[in-house]
Subunit: 169 residues, 2 copies
Amino acid sequence: MGTAPPFADELDTAKRASVGQLLLRAARLYNERAIPRARHELGLPGLRPSHLSLMPHIDLQGTRAATIATRAGISKQAVAQLVDDLERMGMVQRRPDPQDGRAKLVMFTRRGQASLLAGIGVLRTVEDELREQIGDPAMDELHQALLAVVDVLERTASEDGEYGEYGED
Amino acid sequence: MGTAPPFADELDTAKRASVGQLLLRAARLYNERAIPRARHELGLPGLRPSHLSLMPHIDLQGTRAATIATRAGISKQAVAQLVDDLERMGMVQRRPDPQDGRAKLVMFTRRGQASLLAGIGVLRTVEDELREQIGDPAMDELHQALLAVVDVLERTASEDGEYGEYGED
DNA sequence: CATACTTGGTCAAGCCGGCTTGACAATATA
DNA sequence: TATATTGTCAAGCCGGCTTGACCAAGTATG
């Protein structure tokens, strides 16, 4: 084997520039940028990505843990753990569900709502900084494309049992 | 507190649609799609995302572990672990560096190169399927935008000591 | 040339985040 | 009364790292 096999170029470029890899790196970088700021601005040093990704599934009127679990696609125990954290941070509170004696409604506290708004502000800021650098059109296109991608991947996620969920070793 | 505070809408939409969240979800979904296929197609059930993200840092001529480590931004021990895995899979091999008695060059085996090509094929396939669904323009725009985003975020990553790397608790 | 220092790699242990599974009591529903 | 559902306690797994300690080989200096 010499130095550079014939497919070296193809390999090299493809290795680095695939959309999949790019998505991953962009997401990682974006988070590393946003999270510390959110922690700082919201005064919540313990805030982690998993908490953030739980929030969209909590309705403002309150939501049961079990519901959150199915929405987020994780076990209710996992939800419980995250909600514990959020409760300790003062972001959410658990109130008995008037409809059902077993259930509790997870809902944002006043402070939680405020923090949420602040957090969204942080995201906006990060987004706007990025927008400033890459330009309005690129940013808008990115947004639209991502929406489409997520939509497609989510819709076709269940129907592709081809290779099992994550590797039927 | 009533039912829906005045900022409910803003909150609801922003919670779900921020570019950051979208990036994260898209990346996760993309991987969940691609990885099982790669495992299957390459016959490497043990393949994991971290292995994939190491590969771009391995030159075809061979690269030292220490170099890979700095490129990937992780410790050399972490690299060693991943390289161990890849070696067991027959993807790479360690050869003594002729220039330096201490060093070893991590390089792809023949099978490794073949698998790499196959893997790239898988990525292409997934990408093409996606492209088919969201359309050529959107896909191209996504690609370009991601390149720009990664570029910007990487360039400005070091200079923003503002809140410490990840939270100076 | 002998010394100290640096650099490359390895062994071992452990941490943290994000989950899972199992078992269980309390409540609701058929 | 039997069965399902809600939430909780507890334990543990897996992935992706880190830190610390160490040896072997190279480099610089007096």
